[in-house]
């Protein structure tokens, strides 16, 4: 475990930023989800040893944040949410300085800076003053200063803030590479579920300082027991034909929804429940169990001469999770 907290609490006067939070974070890319003010930034700051907790304890790499903050910071990189870069210095000079402040000797600092700026995608612009950079470039510099000393763990606070969709994609790919190709563990705070789903292996949800949920992303996503079929016209014809063949289906929005029979455990005893890999590479066991139904649907579509656009199991997304929560309680 990289991070452990026990009953971690932080008050700022009347405001409770963190309320009795006990969690564990392992390696990989972890998403920290919650609204502004939910406690994500406070948690990161406590783990960095920047802010002392009001009560409770926290450990990073087995080191206590209160007494060993300095040693923790040697191996951790931090990319804050807000603007924090000086305007009147070049990216190269700034990142070199930050590298030296993390203990790298002068020439190593220079080399690592050049490499890191290349990895984050800053090329000739690195010699210009940061004041003239676009938001996307500034975010890259922020990431570079967090990476330059080769940390074991990275804290990223809303890394795609202010980026347009293309820039957001680039940054997410970079984060994904950091986790996989660079082999650095990442804790990423975000309020956008799509990002968390695409990049993170596990998530931690904070609400008003409390820990609401934690777990692998795949345990919240995966495929559900509903088959979605989309035809480009006359869906009601297909529904009728399926009904004739004993298949109950209904029209939901653009698609036809066919409830599937509940999963039976496979012969080898491995439970194939509703959860599967997010990439859609379902277990073959599950595929085989569905195919008779799929065949019926395809045949019906072909008989009716309808254009078939989609036939796939409905995927549960993280937003579904919160939609259900929202319906349950305001």
């Amino acid at each position: 475990m990289l991070v452990r907290t026990a009953s971690l609490t932080k008050h700022y006067g009347d405001v409770t930023a963190l309320d009795d939070v006990t969690l564990e974070i392992g390696s990989g890319v972890v998403g920290l989800v919650g609204a502004n003010g939910a406690g994500k930034s406070t948690l990161m700051r406590i783990l960095l040893g920047l802010v002392p907790p009001t009560s409770g304890s926290a450990e990073v790499f087995g080191l206590d944040v209160g007494t060993d903050g300095l040693r923790i910071r040697e191996q951790v990189g931090y990319m804050p949410e807000d603007d924090c870069l000086p305007n009147d210095i070049s990216a190269t000079r700034f990142v070199i300085h930050m590298a030296r402040m993390s203990g790298l000797p002068a020439s190593e600092a220079r080399e690592r800076t050049a490499e890191t700026l290349r990895h984050v995608g800053l090329f000739e612009e690195r010699y210009r003053q940061i004041g003239g950079y676009s938001t996307g470039m500034k975010q890259r510099v922020k990431l570079a200063q967090a990476l330059v000393h080769d940390p074991t763990l990275l804290f990223l606070d809303e890394p795609t803030n202010g980026l347009d969709p293309a820039g957001r994609d680039d940054m997410l790919q970079l984060i994904e590479r950091t986790g996989s190709a660079f082999g650095i563990s990442v804790v990423m705070a975000s309020h956008l579920l799509g990002e968390i789903e695409s990049v993170c292996d596990s998530l931690v949800l904070l609400d008003a300082g409390r820990l609401e949920r934690a777990g692998a992303v795949t345990s919240f996503t995966g495929t559900s027991n509903v088959l979605l079929v989309e035809v480009d016209r006359d869906p009601d014809l297909l529904v009728a034909r399926l009904a004739q063949r004993g298949i109950a289906a209904s029209i939901v929005g653009r698609a036809i929804s066919v409830p599937l029979p509940p999963q039976t455990p496979s012969a080898t005893g491995t439970a194939t429940g509703p959860a599967t890999g997010p990439g859609g590479t379902a277990t073959t066991e599950q595929d085989r169990q569905d195919t008779s139904l799929h065949r019926l649907v395809v045949e019906s579509v072909a008989e009716l001469g309808l254009p078939l656009v989609r036939l796939s199991r409905q995927r549960r997304t993280l937003s579904d999770l919160f939609r259900d929560d929202a319906r349950a309680a305001p």
């Binding site: 910071r73 804050p80 009147d88």
Partner: protein, 305 residues
């Protein structure tokens, strides 16, 4: 020897490499911060304007020293344009301008751009940041305090055409030069940073420092001139940084004037003499002011960000 006909070609791995080199720890980081702050004080790595300002002020600080040396070289005898003890008084405004401008830059920038958080996420202690800034400013100030006086000393030595013997005779002066420069630089650097850190707007920080240093000096001088009681005069002067600075310098050079009557002519040296305090009291006051400023700065940054 490779076969020239064999196909050649290699792709080198440009993927991310982990850093296996040395990590030098807190002392090195602090040294780097001091160095970078010092460099930025003199405008290195920034535009032309900061350089002009910094080096311009330094040059102005040297003017009396240069004049002294030039005259001595021409005049062929010890002709003192300026005494060591008076030097700071002479260039007081320049020193204050320098420390006001530089302090607002040193701590103002990081506040304005919110860069503090990036420093605090480094493996240094909270206090290291502000202590480094004060140290850097003090070191920069030495260029205006120690530098010119050493030049005067050098000029006097060369003018004496005596060699090593002269140095032995004037060793105490050298000691006083170094001591006064170091104390004064530390005092003004600490006070300036402790004032400038409250504002992220450069102009505001600069004028605040100027106000606290110069205005208090002028006000105190005027006040002391109308006070008849040495005790009150001493109290007012002990609280005024520039008075304390002047006093310490006079004390270290053993140049406190002896006054039998107190003339209301507002000469700071006379006013200091009027207070009638023992030398160590002034030195203690300087140390106290410096320590207080440092404490305020440290406490402020402990709660920051």
């Amino acid at each position: 020897m490779t076969d020239p006909q064999a196909p050649r070609g290699t792709i080198y791995d440009l993927g991310y490499r982990h850093y296996e080199g040395p990590r030098l720890g807190r002392r090195y980081a602090v040294r780097s911060l001091v160095t970078l702050s010092l460099r930025s004080t003199f405008g290195l790595g920034r535009g032309a304007l900061p350089k002009v300002l910094a080096f311009g002020l330094v040059l102005l600080a040297f003017v009396p020293a240069i004049a002294q040396v030039a005259i001595a070289a021409v005049g062929r005898g010890i002709f003192e344009v300026v005494e060591y003890a008076d030097y700071f008084g002479l260039i007081q405004v320049i020193i204050v301008l320098f420390v006001a401008a530089m302090s607002s830059e040193l701590v103002g920038n990081d506040r304005r751009y919110h860069t503090l958080v990036l420093y605090f996420s480094r493996p240094i202690r909270r206090d290291d940041y502000v202590l480094s800034k004060i140290t850097a400013l003090a070191l920069a100030l030495l260029c205006l305090t120690l530098g010119p006086q050493l030049l005067v000393y050098l000029g006097n030595w060369l003018g004496s055409s005596r060699g090593a013997g002269w140095i032995a005779d004037h060793a105490s002066e050298l000691l006083a030069i170094v001591a006064s420069s170091v104390l004064v630089s530390a005092q003004l650097a600490a006070i300036a940073v402790a004032i400038a850190m409250f504002s992220s707007r450069r102009a505001f920080a600069l004028t605040s420092v100027l106000a606290v240093l110069l205005v208090t000096f002028i006000a105190a001088g005027t006040l002391v001139a109308v006070l008849d009681d040495p005790g009150w005069a001493a109290a007012v002067m002990l609280l005024t940084p520039l008075f304390v600075m002047r006093a310490v310098t006079l004390v270290l050079f053993d140049a406190v004037p002896a006054v039998s009557t107190f003339s209301h002519d507002q000469d700071p040296a006379d006013q200091i003499a009027f207070a009638g305090l023992p030398g160590w009291a002034w030195v203690a006051a300087l140390v106290a002011q410096t320590a207080l400023a440092v404490a305020v700065a440290v406490l402020y940054y402990r709660r920051a960000s």
